[in-house]
């Protein structure tokens, strides 16, 4: 051990260049080895189904290696169980997902194919945010195939409500403490710090959003159902004729006729949706109704304050659009 700490910069007299190089290599090797051991002991690998949870993981456990399954420009209902995602799931110590059947089309396949026992349902390494918050709009489970993509537990897009994000963050911090007791104190401290700041942001956004209270919007899918509820916005029509069903010409025409009499404050689509139907409708309403394309989630979860900036953007885009009228 001691030889490794011999300073290579102060060679004893008569040391050949060869020997100096050898010492250099030994020192570097030891440092690398120690570093790798320390990293293995500390770095957890986390699989995040959606970027908002990746951002939250980075707040609570910044040293974690995070794999994000989706980005804000993808529809999280319709992800495929790609080989790359199975490989990421295989290496995960913790998987953080929304739940409420949002990922029903792909997550079970990842769990099965990864054969990773840590992230199976019922294990502490499988965290569903929806298990820790109340969901709006639960629907009775139906076998009717014509009812659209019904989520019996309720609307799964809960991340658009910052208060529910806070509830999920609390539960996630607790879960991390359970999984990694050695780091529980640090995680709890980081969470407390974040939660205080987040609370002030929520108050600010709620204050800013008061101008949106009572506004009527038309949206495609209930992706922002929680945002509407939080800000007191009324979603008067859905471009989708049935949940999960792309807009049809007949349905759009019905909407056009109804909305000509009572135009909404805005037509809102999500970044990953095809906005042609919304553009057509906006045009049909004589250009009086602005079209707003909102990002579905945080843009880059590796950036600091990614969640805060996403909510800032949602608020400012909505206020700017509705203020134009």
């Amino acid at each position: 051990m001691h030889t490794a700490f011999e300073s290579p910069c102060l060679p004893s007299s008569g040391t050949s260049v060869k020997r100096r190089v050898a010492i250099w290599f030994r020192t570097a090797g030891l440092v690398l080895a120690l570093g790798a051991t320390a990293a293995q002991a500390q770095v957890a690998t986390v699989f995040a189904c959606e970027p908002e949870w990746a951002a939250l993981v980075r707040v609570l456990l910044p040293q974690a290696k995070v794999h994000v399954a989706t980005h804000a420009r993808q529809d999280p209902h319709h992800i495929e169980a790609r080989p790359a995602l199975i490989a990421h799931m295989r290496s995960a110590d913790l998987a953080v997902c929304t739940g409420a059947a949002l990922e029903a089309g792909w997550l079970p396949m990842l769990q099965q194919r990864s054969a990773n026992r840590k992230v199976q349902d019922g294990q502490p390494g499988m965290f569903y945010a929806a298990d820790h918050v109340s969901l709006i709009d639960p629907k009775p489970a139906t076998l009717n195939p014509f009812a659209g993509d019904v989520h019996p537990d309720g609307n799964p897009h809960l991340h658009a409500d910052p208060r529910r994000i806070a509830e999920a963050a609390q539960a996630l911090a607790d879960r991390m403490g359970l999984l990694w007791p050695a780091q529980a104190t640090e995680v709890a401290a980081r969470h407390k710090d974040w939660a205080n700041r987040w609370q002030r942001h929520v108050e600010r956004w709620t204050h800013q959003g008061r101008v949106l209270n009572g506004q009527k919007v038309v949206a495609q899918h209930t992706s922002f159902g929680y945002l509407w509820q939080w800000l007191g916005i009324e979603m008067v029509a859905d471009l989708e004729p049935k949940p999960g069903m792309p807009p049809t010409p007949g349905h759009l025409d019905t909407l056009r006729r109804a909305l000509l009499a009572t135009p909404p404050a805005a037509i809102v689509v999500v970044g990953y949706q095809d906005d042609r139907s919304a553009r057509w409708l906006a045009q049909q309403l004589q250009g009086k109704v602005p079209l707003v394309v909102l990002p579905a989630s945080v843009d880059d979860p590796s950036q600091p304050e990614a969640l805060e900036r996403w909510f800032d953007r949602l608020l400012s885009d909505l206020i700017a659009a509705t203020g134009k009228r």
Partner: protein
């Protein structure tokens, strides 16, 4: 309908089941069983040679499926499939298996009746297919899709890309239903799958499999006499699971590439899949030149959330046993389809298929066939594979 099961897949299942019973009391109640059903109906203007759908309106591969956890360590799935055949509706147990989900190091065991994981399509439920009929390769060598009674052990490697190896040991009775001679186990399948993403828009998967089949197919009487055409058993083949052309060894390679702008596959996606298989050791009289070979190449383009169109080319070369000698079998198939998927639960598909280059094929090849296909799913059905 063959529900006669050999004892050893059951014994293995029982061992897995018993080993987990002690844990089942701890299981959480938040994991529910999902039950679903699929209705598949097609109208066919002219039945395809070696096809699995008869002329006219017909019930296709429809099923009722239940899947869910058995305690913390296991999951299970049961599927009963029905289809109409000669005006009768036939039912068949297609899946009944238990699978581990608590083994360490990426290991996984499965026992019971289940589809083999060879090839790109075999493990996929037929209702998720992009075309009305399975590729010729599957219809000729695997009875459409090969499920059997047996056990599986899989290992998923802890690599930054996907790498899975697996060994399946089957009775082989669903691959070769009537055997002239056999040894146990009836069939062994070894397979490897690998894949990864390439940027945000591309993903790929490669698979290789080798199947050792220890059941030599029995020759039918007509075959023994060397009669050509007009085989009475052509009908039995129309829907029977089990290979039309079998042999001792099968090698199966598959490759899939998908491209979706920015990874948003719901709105736009190109999918290209190629598969190739070679079967050798047809029977005791076969020489090295007596091999079966089939390949399939398909491309499907989704241009909006509800619309897809695709094309597929299929080639088959086989050696049909007649007593101690073999006759050439040749068939080519070209398919074009367009599909409308208004919701996740419904698919309406129109397909044009042309067969050509037929030689030694049972039943007349369909120069032109139009098929209208409707798939409706009720309730929960399993997540789809890549």
């Amino acid at each position: 309908m063959n529900t006669q099961l050999k004892w050893w897949p059951h014994a293995a299942g029982l061992v897995i089941l018993c080993s987990s019973l002690s844990h089942s009391a701890l299981a959480q109640q938040d994991e529910a069983w999902g039950i679903g059903a699929v209705l598949d109906v097609a109208h066919t203007s002219k039945a395809l040679a070696m096809g699995q759908r008869e002329k006219g309106l017909q019930l296709g591969h429809s099923d009722i499926s239940a899947a869910g956890p058995l305690g913390r360590s296991l999951s299970a799935r049961f599927t009963v499939a029905t289809h109409s055949h000669d005006g009768k509706v036939e039912a068949e147990l297609e899946e009944a298996y238990v699978q581990t989900r608590s083994l360490p190091a990426g290991l996984q065991l499965r026992a019971g009746r289940f589809p083999s994981q060879i090839g790109y399509l075999n493990e996929q439920h037929p209702h998720a297919d992009d075309f009305v009929e399975r590729p010729l390769l599957y219809r000729a060598f695997l009875g459409g899709h090969w499920f059997d009674d047996g056990v599986r052990v899989n290992w998923t490697a802890p690599t930054p890309f996907y790498l899975r190896t697996g060994l399946e040991v089957f009775t082989g009775k669903q691959l070769v239903q009537e055997a002239a001679s056999s040894s146990s186990p009836g069939a062994i399948a070894f397979s490897v799958k690998t894949g990864n993403d390439w940027g945000t828009s591309n993903s790929w998967q490669l698979g290789a499999a080798w199947v050792r089949n220890n059941r030599e197919a029995a020759l039918h009487e007509e075959d023994e006499e060397g009669a050509e055409g007009g085989h009475d058993h052509a009908h039995d083949h129309a829907h029977a699971h089990g290979a039309m052309f079998s042999g001792r060894d099968m090698v199966l390679l598959d490759a899939a590439w998908k491209w979706a702008p920015d990874g948003n596959n719901r709105e736009r996606q190109l999918k290209v899949v190629g598969e190739w298989a070679k079967v050798s050791g047809i029977n005791r009289y076969a020489q090295s030149k007596d091999v079966h070979e089939a390949s399939s190449l398909m491309a499907v383009w989704r241009w909006s959330a509800a619309w897809e169109a695709g094309a597929r080319m299929d080639w088959l070369k086989a050696r049909s046993p007649h007593g101690d000698h073999f006759h050439n079998v040749r068939l080519q198939e070209r398919s074009l389809m367009v599909a409308y998927k208004p919701t996740h639960a419904q698919t309406l598909r129109l397909q044009y298929t042309g067969q050509s280059g037929a030689e030694g094929v049972e039943g007349a090849p369909a120069k032109r066939s139009l098929q209208l296909h409707y798939v409706l799913s009720f309730g929960a059905h399993g997540a789809h594979s890549f």
